[in-house]
């Protein structure tokens, strides 16, 4: 029992550093991405009103909509640059992930591969994942758009339930794709790059323990989602915080995001440990 606790503690300790680095990276990167909002706020003149944050989030939404309308063109003008930067940030997030995988690989005695080939393969893997997701999403959207026409005279509830079922299947497929991606990523981080062989082995691992792995991944993701929702509920339940206290919001949100990254790290370390066994 003690040994298990020590092992869990050691696992968390091993994750702490890379996860904090990952979170700092996100804080900086997304802080840059959100700058147009800060600019819009300072440009709008809302700061000249008493209690501007309370005013913006007051019941009725008059001031929030006023600000959105007034700053809309500037915000829209920044969408392109923010979109580009966002794509860069998503790609650059491979770096803290690589660092996390490297630390896990070393911890589990699997060694670590050099940065460049690992990054190249992780990048290609992420791109392939999103191409697959895009293709399945297109299929789902086509079904949702044309479903009503195809369904003709069916009762509306049956049609919507069918779409809901299709959405659930799509989400499940995304979860399986994520598991496959993570299995491959773990292998990429600790083995010499041999792309097709790595993917083949990941597929074999998935087919061997697919259901268990998918369930485990689902649990981790559900817990991550629960931290987000729990954080929001906590904020809304605090009478002095609600939507308007930036410091409380920052603490709660970053806490939830830290929990999400830790859960992701735990999941990857579980995959790594499973390989080790």
């Amino acid at each position: 029992m003690m040994a298990q606790q020590d092992s869990a503690r050691a696992r968390l300790r091993a994750l702490l550093g890379p996860v904090l680095i990952w979170q700092l990276f996100e804080l900086f990167a997304y802080g840059l991405l959100a700058l147009p909002v800060a600019t819009a706020l300072s440009r709008s003149g809302i700061g000249r009103f008493p209690d501007p944050a309370q005013r913006l989030f007051s019941d009725g939404g008059l001031w929030l909509l006023e600000l959105i309308h007034q700053q809309r063109s500037q915000l829209l003008a920044s969408v392109r640059s923010v979109g580009l930067l966002f794509a860069c940030v998503v790609v650059a997030a491979l770096l803290p992930e690589w660092w996390l995988l490297r630390r896990l690989g070393l911890r589990y005695g699997r060694g670590a591969q050099p940065l460049r080939p690992v990054l190249a393969q992780l990048g290609a893997l992420t791109l392939a994942l999103w191409l697959l997701r895009g293709a399945t999403l297109t299929l789902f959207v086509l079904l949702a758009v044309h479903g009503p026409r195809l369904a003709g005279l069916r009762e509306d509830r049956l049609l919507d339930l069918t779409l809901l079922f299709a959405l659930a299947l799509w989400l499940l497929l995304q979860l399986v794709l994520s598991v496959l991606r993570d299995l491959t990523a773990v292998r990429i981080a600790v083995r010499s790059p041999a792309p097709f062989d790595t993917v083949r082995r990941a597929l074999r691992a998935l087919s061997a323990g697919g259901l268990r792995l998918t369930l485990r991944a689902g649990v981790y993701r559900a817990l991550a989602l629960a931290t987000l929702l729990g954080g929001e509920l906590l904020l809304l339940s605090l009478p002095w915080a609600g939507l308007t206290d930036a410091a409380a919001g920052f603490l709660v949100h970053q806490g939830a995001l830290f929990a999400r990254l830790m859960l992701h790290g735990l999941w990857l370390s579980e995959l790594m440990a499973a390989r080790d066994r």
């Binding site: 991405l33 008493p50 989030f57 309308h69 997030a93 995001l257």
Partner: protein
């Protein structure tokens, strides 16, 4: 009709219990009027081919002061003849739900004979297209062989074929669902000066006609459930078909729907037999619709005169025919929304309240929707705001992401999105786009009347509108009639503002342009606050001032002149000033320049929330 309103409603709303209905209004207002254009029609629906074979008579009285030697027929189903028609040439029809059809429709007159003119066959003389537009056949001149003198009648025997299009702009069919909006040959309205108010069917414009008595027999397959204007007078079944005879007196249009899968509910509300038709699975929506009607019928009746017809039919189309939703016809309205929406939003109630309001602002006040769309859509939007506020409260119009949005806030947002400062009282077709028409005709009118109510008194505006509605009941009012009624209850300054907004497109912006403090005699501090008014509208406003010591005071300004300086002497300087703190002037073009502060700050909470939202989005898209 409500493209802009519907866009406002596609947001989630917090559901709260509806308060109990008010008392049924009782008044001695007329329940009918002299018929000018009456129709006795028989329509046989070929449900397989989606074709209506129609015949009957049109009885018309020349109620003008001039002899008439021509008629104008509105054959509006021809708007669905193809992409070449005026309706489909206008890009605005897309926002009205006018997708290019997979099956076009049209109306063809087979016979038209004038009884009092020796049974003259008028068909050869019917002009082939709308005046000046060979591509459009919706507005057709019909010369008469002899003049019809003032007060004389004319009876036309007609037969026609209406080929329904695939459902588009609230007309047509989907599967065996049929909605017949502009489905019969209909006379334009002759104005008292002898001029025909005729116009082709355009995407930006709606309708205008004389009151009359409609006696319509609908012959449909037996399995069809039918909803129609008026009340069901008789029903006969034979050879697998049903013949339903509807009587609708003192109305200016007649619409109907037929679908084999409609469910029905009947309820007596405020002395009116309400017939609700809805698709299978929409029981919860039906509950919500009836619940809001129990409030809304007495509410509108008390404010604008009792509902005069014995029946009201409310149609909730199925999702496959959502295009038929959100429309008004005399004693028949269509509402809308998906089966699950009523569990988490107020959309069905909002659409129902809006369309029901049209029974007054369109139905009983039969203004020219083409010439002055604000008289029906604008006033109805204000009336709807008042009703919704009474039913659901001021702030809970919608709650996307947990933020409660008020109707006024949403209206302001849409109003501010207009592309130009245009008058409210333009012709429908004078607006550059449906977006402009929506933001000005619907939202700006509602906000103008709410501003008048906020500044000059809610009761005064309500009484002015009540007098207008009562005097013009079964009439064809103009803006002058509206302003004449308002002039009896509102001060001249209010009328000046109303006229300037309606006819000149004038607006207003209050701003605090200066806040300075300097030492004064006796160890005091002198603060100077300058309030400016831009634009032609002139409303009195309040200015809230706060000193560094926390003292609060208010000052009033009548709004005269381009600016006013407030000079305040005291032991501590004024550090914060705010014009119109209660936001009474909802027409103010920019509320964010209404404040000045010696200690401005930037609220960080929205930035923090944006950061968190982006981080979560990145988490979704990332590894």
């Amino acid at each position: 009709m409500d493209a802009a309103v519907r866009s406002l409603l596609l947001v989630s709303c917090a559901r709260t219990e509806l308060p109990p209905p008010g008392p049924t209004p009782v008044d001695d207002l007329p329940r009918s009027t002299r018929p000018i254009a009456s129709y006795t029609l028989r329509a046989e629906l070929d449900a397989a081919e989606h074709v209506i074979h129609g015949s009957g008579e049109i009885r018309w009285v020349n109620a003008s002061a001039q002899p008439v030697q021509e008629l104008y027929l509105h054959l509006y189903l021809n708007a669905f003849e193809g992409p070449h028609t005026l309706l489909f040439r206008n890009p605005a029809r897309r926002a009205r739900g006018g997708a290019v059809s997979r099956r076009w429709g049209h109306i063809q007159i087979d016979r038209i004979v004038a009884r009092q003119l020796a049974d003259a066959d008028l068909l050869p003389a019917l002009e082939p297209h709308s005046p000046g537009d060979p591509q459009d056949g919706t507005d057709r001149r019909l010369p008469l062989p002899a003049p019809i003198a003032p007060g004389e009648s004319l009876t036309l025997d007609v037969s026609w074929t209406s080929v329904l299009p695939e459902l588009s702009i609230r007309t047509g069919f989907v599967g065996d669902f049929h909605f017949a909006g502009q489905w019969f040959p209909k006379l334009a309205r002759l104005e008292p000066d002898g001029q025909w108010a005729h116009f082709p069917f355009d995407a930006l414009s709606e309708f205008y006609a004389d009151y009359g008595d409609y006696d319509v027999t609908l012959d449909v397959p037996e399995q069809m459930v039918v909803g129609a204007s008026g009340h069901l007078a008789s029903e006969q079944r034979a050879a697998g078909r049903r013949a339903l005879r509807y009587r609708a007196d003192s109305v200016h249009d007649f619409a109907w729907t037929a679908w084999s899968r409609f469910r029905q509910r009947e309820e007596q509300i405020a002395g009116t037999a309400v017939h609700l038709l809805y698709p299978p699975g929409y029981e919860h929506d039906a509950d919500a619709t009836l619940a809001v009607l129990r409030r809304a019928l007495p509410h509108y009746g008390a404010r604008y005169g009792s509902y005069p017809y014995p029946d009201l039919t409310v149609v909730h189309p199925p999702a496959m025919a959502f295009e038929a939703g959100g429309m008004e016809y005399p004693s028949l309205i269509t509402t809308g929304g998906l089966w699950h929406e009523s569990y988490w939003s107020r959309a069905v109630e909002y659409v129902t309240v809006h369309e029901l309001g049209h029974q007054w602002f369109y139905g009983l006040l039969g203004s020219n929707e083409h010439r002055w769309p604000f008289l029906d859509e604008g006033l109805n939007s204000y009336a709807e705001s008042v009703a919704l506020r009474e039913f659901f409260g001021a702030t809970a119009s919608a709650t996307p992401l947990g933020i409660q949005l008020s109707g006024e806030a949403l209206r302001r947002y849409v109003m501010l999105s207009r592309s130009a400062q245009l008058p409210i009282a333009l012709k429908a077709t004078e607006y550059p786009s449906l977006r402009d028409l929506g933001s000005i005709v619907y939202q700006r009118t509602a906000l103008l009347f709410q501003t008048l109510a906020n500044v000059y008194g809610e009761a005064q505006v309500a009484e002015g509108l009540r007098r207008y509605a009562v005097r013009q009941r079964f009439g064809h009012p103009t803006p002058d009639d509206l302003l004449a009624a308002l002039a009896e209850t509102l001060p001249p300054a209010a009328l000046d503002n109303a006229r300037a907004a309606l006819f000149d497109g004038h607006g207003v912006n209050y701003l605090l342009s200066q806040l300075e403090s300097a030492p004064a005699e006796g160890g005091l501090v002198e603060s100077r606050v300058r309030v400016q008014r831009q634009g032609e509208l002139q409303f009195p406003v309040t200015i809230a001032l706060r000193s560094a010591a926390g003292e609060q005071r208010t000052e009033d300004w009548d709004g005269a002149g381009p600016f006013h300086d407030f000079i305040v002497r005291g032991p501590s300087p004024i550090v914060s000033a705010l014009v119109d703190p209660e936001v009474r002037v909802l027409l103010d073009d920019n509320l964010l320049d209404n404040a000045a502060s010696a200690e401005p700050s930037v609220p960080l909470a929205p930035y923090e929330r944006s950061l968190a939202a982006l981080q979560w989005l990145g988490g979704l898209l990332g590894p």
